[in-house]
């Protein structure tokens, strides 16, 4: 069953860009990545799902319920971690968490303490005295506390040190094992690649593509690293020598190619070069994304 379903969802803010006709859906139990550069419309999409803002056109459903009409029902089962966490400065951490839990019904004191302990968060501190990273932790506990069916995370790792990120990812995996669906928005591709099954790529308010991470990574793209002999100088690959080179980069005597052509042609070509080593591997999401982003942009300019 689809937990989140967007249908040509659109938000325009006068001249400022919002999002334009987004359509995709998230299945129950998956960790769904939502990636794009800053200002692409990720937060706008999320804030529409929570009805903090109202759609200009199109519609969306969460748990099969309309995001505008049944917003309160949706929010009852949703945990939200905003990219920038702001709480009431006069409260202590525990006060804030109790206040938050009060809206959802009963507070699970044990769960609150356990989560705080895992994240190394002091419940008795005042919100006003917390660092950015510690505020983020409050946000994480606040989002997880009522064991929601859907977690919406907007750039969740900002401000967390690597150790805490690790704990946080473990928590998310545990939530997923409980059957929680996670909508994971980020501009950091490596964490999306690590956590998510499927991703939607958004740029300038429009959906670029939705695919599984493995599909994106495996889709015929190879990264080829050619290490030349010390006295040789790598030359740019010309289309007539070898077709299928999408991107190339030379640094010292190392040449890196993003390659989508025939591997046998590649080997034939490489055989003639004064190379000492060749490495063919799968590109990271980062590299594909850069390519996707670039080619789209070129398309826009030429069209």
């Amino acid at each position: 069953m689809a937990i989140v379903e967007l249908n040509r969802l659109t938000k325009r803010y006068g001249k400022r860009r919002g999002i334009e006709e987004l359509t995709f859906s998230i299945e129950e139990g998956e960790i769904f990545g939502f990636i794009g550069p800053n200002g692409a419309g990720k937060s706008t999409t999320i804030r529409l799902l929570l009805n903090l803002i109202h759609p200009t056109a199109g519609s969306a459903k969460v748990f099969g319920k309309d995001i505008v009409r049944d917003s309160r029902d949706i929010r009852r089962d949703t945990g939200y971690l905003p990219s920038e966490v702001h709480y009431y400065d006069d409260m202590k951490v525990a006060d804030l968490l109790r206040y938050s839990a009060g809206f959802h019904g009963k507070l699970d004191e044990n769960r609150m303490r356990r989560l705080a302990e895992r994240l190394d968060l002091d419940l008795s501190r005042k919100i006003a005295d917390l660092s950015f990273g510690n505020r983020k932790k409050v946000g994480i506990v606040q989002a997880l506390l009522h064991s929601p069916r859907l977690l919406i995370l907007d750039e969740p790792t900002g401000g967390l040190d690597p150790l805490m990120q690790h704990v946080f990812f473990d928590l998310l995996k545990e939530e997923q094992n409980r059957g929680t669906t996670i909508f994971f928005s980020s501009h950091i591709l490596s964490e999306v690649q690590r956590m998510c099954g499927r991703v939607a790529i958004i740029r300038d308010g429009r959906l670029v593509r939705v695919d599984s991470v493995s599909q994106l990574v495996n889709s015929n793209f190879k990264t080829v690293v050619l290490t030349f002999a010390t006295d040789a100088k790598p030359q740019p690959v010309r289309e007539t020598d070898l077709s299928g080179v999408i991107r190339q980069d030379i640094s010292g005597n190392v040449q890196t190619l993003l390659f989508s052509g025939n591997v046998r042609d590649l080997l034939d070509y490489a055989r003639q070069l004064p190379i000492m080593d060749i490495h063919i591997g799968e590109p990271s999401l980062e590299e594909i994304f850069m390519h996707e982003y670039k080619s789209d942009k070129e398309g826009v300019y030429s069209g």
Binding site: L52, I53, S71, P82, H86, D90, S100, F103
Partner: protein, 263 residues
Amino acid sequence: MIYRREWKCNARGLIIWTAVLCGLVLLMMSVYPSFAENAKEMEDMLELFPAPLQNVFGMNTLNLGTFTGYYGVEVHLINTLVGSVYAALLAAGILAKEENDHTAEFLLSKPVTRAAVTGQKLAAVLTNLFVLNAAITAISFACTGFSDEAVELDILAWYMLAAFLLHVTVASVSFLLSATMRRSRSIVSLALGIVFLSYALHVIAGLSGRFDFLRHVSVFSFVDAAAVANNGIAGRDVTVMLLVILLCCAGAFGYYRNKDIAG
């Protein structure tokens, strides 16, 4: 939830404003006995004020030698003006602060409807104003002990009702601003501006007959002590105030329901 939170947040302000206002009432009224003793001399002295000024403060209509007359000239102004400032400050901030401090992102992602948020905050404003006015009323009626003669309690009750109505009117206008605008500081300035402008219009109306029409514009004229002491609050003025209250509150609910919360 939200009501309780607002009640707690605003408790300190309420206590301070109530203490200050009640203290002022007590202070002014404690002077009344010695004033009443020398009423004739005092009245003669006050006669020296220019007539327009006497008109503004209602001294030409109200008899300073009586409890309600003295209260109308010396205390009612404090109640209405200072109380309005409190009402404006309280109501102007109460909704907008969530957006201003970016806590709306938290609050409105919880399972509450916008109507519940608006309603509970409005209820908190009204409760605070009610408590303030109840305290002023209690202390004012207690102050009748300063008077040797019988006090026209109905007039005192009219003063109280007038002040409360004014406070609620000012609060609902400020509340509407709080629901529609985003930046707390500009809302507070605007709300206070409305209060002082309204008071200024009332003063101008009293200073010269030429500007008498301004009496129909300023809410402070609606609750003017001299008028209220003579024949209560005019039915038309009550209607206008109730209508303003109703429209502003309805407007606040309606607007906030569909408001796009700034990120």
